[in-house]
């Protein structure tokens, strides 16, 4: 190595140490994704080899020097059928295999822990249910299915963790989900892969996979004091949601206890499931989501709550498991200084204000 200048040598060494050829497989889905990937690589290599062999072989065998007179051949239905059906069959295998994988990646298991992620120009904000907030980092425990509920505050972003082989677009105005279960501790790249403006390439972060024990420690050390649902509760009170959604017999809005994942009938007669997306939409575009039997009196909160606020509210509503819990919120509301005198109007009795919510 004497003839290589030390500067260059340092440079090369740094390079080679960083030289990656294959991304780590760090989630349960990664090996499955890679299996399909390598199957396709194999098929492609075989296909390419056949094509190259045909071209090179024929070029050698039938070059003008060796084969001065061409023999005219019209074609062959049998061969046409062969190279129609075989590729089609292979592609269909890939299609089915890929579809299975697709549904697996985009269908979170029931026991998944939900973390909300908000994309905005140009950062990722993670909201843990315990109230931990993070920017451009995401701490997750190993061996636990994590569901990411994504939303963007402005433009399209795309939440991509190459080591987990998962990716999902963060769309403004709509929740999308993706899930993974990390299998190895470590720090992995988190990219925004959808072009989102000037600092698109700075919208990168780290996913830190920890053992469950470390994760627990991390949760405790980085708590903000309130859980996400508690944040939501506060917001619920300060926005006077409980003036109507108070679970009293004369309430002007439906009770929200156990509303999450319930089947609702809307005033239009449509049946819907109250999932995260529905809850969010019902807060921001209430008039499209009037539960049957209620008047369309709810104002919109579009522009008044940040996406994080909406997430907190959604998380709060998801955790409301009884009318008693709602009443408790109500009490705190009445005690809040800004709500003094702002007692919920009891007179307006909506006709047929029964609970429409069936668990």
């Amino acid at each position: 190595m004497d003839h290589i200048s030390p500067v260059l040598w340092q440079f090369l060494r740094k390079w080679l140490e960083h030289f990656a050829l294959f991304p780590p497989e760090a989630s349960t889905v990664a090996p499955q994704s890679d299996a399909l990937f390598f199957f396709m690589v194999l098929v492609s290599l075989i296909g390419l080899t056949i094509v190259v062999l045909l071209i090179v072989g024929f070029s050698i065998l039938y070059s003008k020097k060796r084969h001065p007179q061409a023999v005219q051949i019209e074609g062959s239905t049998l061969l046409e059928a062969t190279w129609t059906i075989i590729p089609l069959g292979l592609f269909l295998v890939m299609f089915v295999w890929g579809a299975l994988l697709y549904f697996r990646i985009y269908t979170p298991p029931a026991n998944a822990m939900n973390i909300y992620v908000v994309g905005k120009q140009w950062m990722w904000k993670a909201e843990h249910p315990g109230g931990q907030h993070e920017i451009n980092t995401l701490h997750v425990p190993m061996g636990q299915p994590i569901q990411i509920t994504l939303i963007s505050q402005d433009v399209f972003h795309s939440f991509s963790i190459p080591a987990f082989r998962v990716k999902r677009e963060a769309i403004p105005g709509r929740y999308t989900t993706v899930w993974f279960e990390a299998t190895a501790t470590g720090t992995y790249h988190l990219f925004c892969t959808q072009y989102c403006g000037t600092n698109h390439s700075q919208m990168i972060g780290d996913v830190i996979v920890m053992t469950p024990e470390d994760y627990k420690k991390w949760l405790e050390s980085s708590t903000s004091g309130n859980s996400l649902a508690q944040d939501g509760e506060r917001l619920f009170a300060s926005l006077s949601c409980s003036a109507c959604h108070n679970a009293r017999p004369d309430a002007r809005g439906p009770s929200l206890a156990n509303v999450y994942n319930a089947k609702l009938t809307l005033s239009s007669g449509q049946a819907v499931t109250a999932d995260d997306a529905y809850l969010r939409d019902a807060i921001l575009n209430p008039s499209q989501h009037i539960t049957q039997g209620y008047a369309p009196i709810m104002p919109t909160y579009q522009g008044q709550i940040s996406e994080e606020g909406v997430i907190a509210l959604v998380e709060y509503i998801k955790n409301l498991d009884s009318d008693y819990r709602v009443q408790q919120t109500l009490n705190t509301t009445e005690m809040l200084p800004e709500n003094e005198g702002g007692k919920p109007a009891a007179g307006a009795k909506a006709p047929g204000a029964q609970k429409e919510v069936k668990p």
Binding site: P286, P299, T300
Partner: protein, 250 residues
């Protein structure tokens, strides 16, 4: 297949034939020239269908999402003017068809009359469209330009429309979505009116040429092709009338 044989039979005839003055040098026969330009016009209309197709798709999706807003939005449109305009445009289509006929049977006078009638109907349509747009402007229903949701959150403030439909007030968030309706209303009728304006321009050009007798010597291609365009614009309006004015009245 059939057209290639037609060309084949046309080719030898051409050898001892004088070209009519309107035949372009690169065509073998007048037939071929007519067929080609006629087909080209149809292809152009095909692109127009797809052009409006994008707008129709957007309209259908938005109408599904914001049904109530689209209903009360459409209540703002005048059935009277809409129907009148439809009738006017249908009549103009008829006169246009008659212009083509006049050219085919080589009657210069009647061609001129029908072209002028078509022009008058076309201008009437644009005039009525102008009246309607002006009304929207006065009521602040032009999206992005001092748009006001007054008529939708408080329907009584708009007595004329209220008398007819007794709309319930919309929640403010839905009322805001009427802007979406009017955006599409203006985009679609505006795009349609733009086609009308272009058509009127060509009509005026054609009237001058027809006076000079350009279309009554057997060369009907231009009139025929313009007719196709004009009828196409008519068809678009038939659908716009149904979608924007009629389907949401109940």
């Amino acid at each position: 297949m059939s057209d290639s044989t037609a060309i084949a039979s046309g080719a030898p005839a051409e050898a001892h034939h004088e070209h009519p003055p309107y035949q372009r040098h690169h065509f073998e026969s007048v037939e071929q020239q007519f067929d080609a330009t006629n087909f080209a016009m149809w292809l152009f209309l095909l692109t127009e269908v797809m052009f409006f197709g994008g707008l129709f798709t957007a309209y259908l999706i938005m109408r599904n999402w914001y049904y109530q807003a689209f209903v009360v939005g459409s209540h703002q449109l005048s059935i009277f003017w809409g129907t009148a305009n439809t009738a006017v445009l249908i009549c103009s289509s008829f006169t246009m068809a008659m212009s083509v006929w006049s050219a085919e049977v080589r009657r210069r006078k009647s061609l001129l009359v029908y072209l002028c009638l078509t022009l008058v109907f076309g201008l009437t349509f644009l005039g009525i469209k102008g009246i309607e747009w002006h009304e929207k402007w006065e009521k602040h229903h032009v999206p992005g330009m001092h748009y006001s949701v007054q008529s939708f959150v408080n329907p009584q403030s708009d007595p004329e429309v209220y008398k007819e439909y007794q709309d319930k007030p919309l929640a403010p968030d839905m009322a805001q979505k009427t802007e979406e309706y009017f955006f599409l209303y203006f985009a679609m009728t505006g795009m349609h009116a733009l086609h009308m304006v272009i058509g009127v321009g060509i009509l005026i050009f054609m009237i001058f040429r027809a006076r000079a007798g350009a279309y009554t010597t057997g060369h009907v291609t231009f009139v025929e092709n313009f007719g196709l365009y004009w009828h196409f614009v008519d068809i678009i309006w038939i659908y716009l009338f149904a979608l924007l004015y009629l389907i949401s009245r109940h």
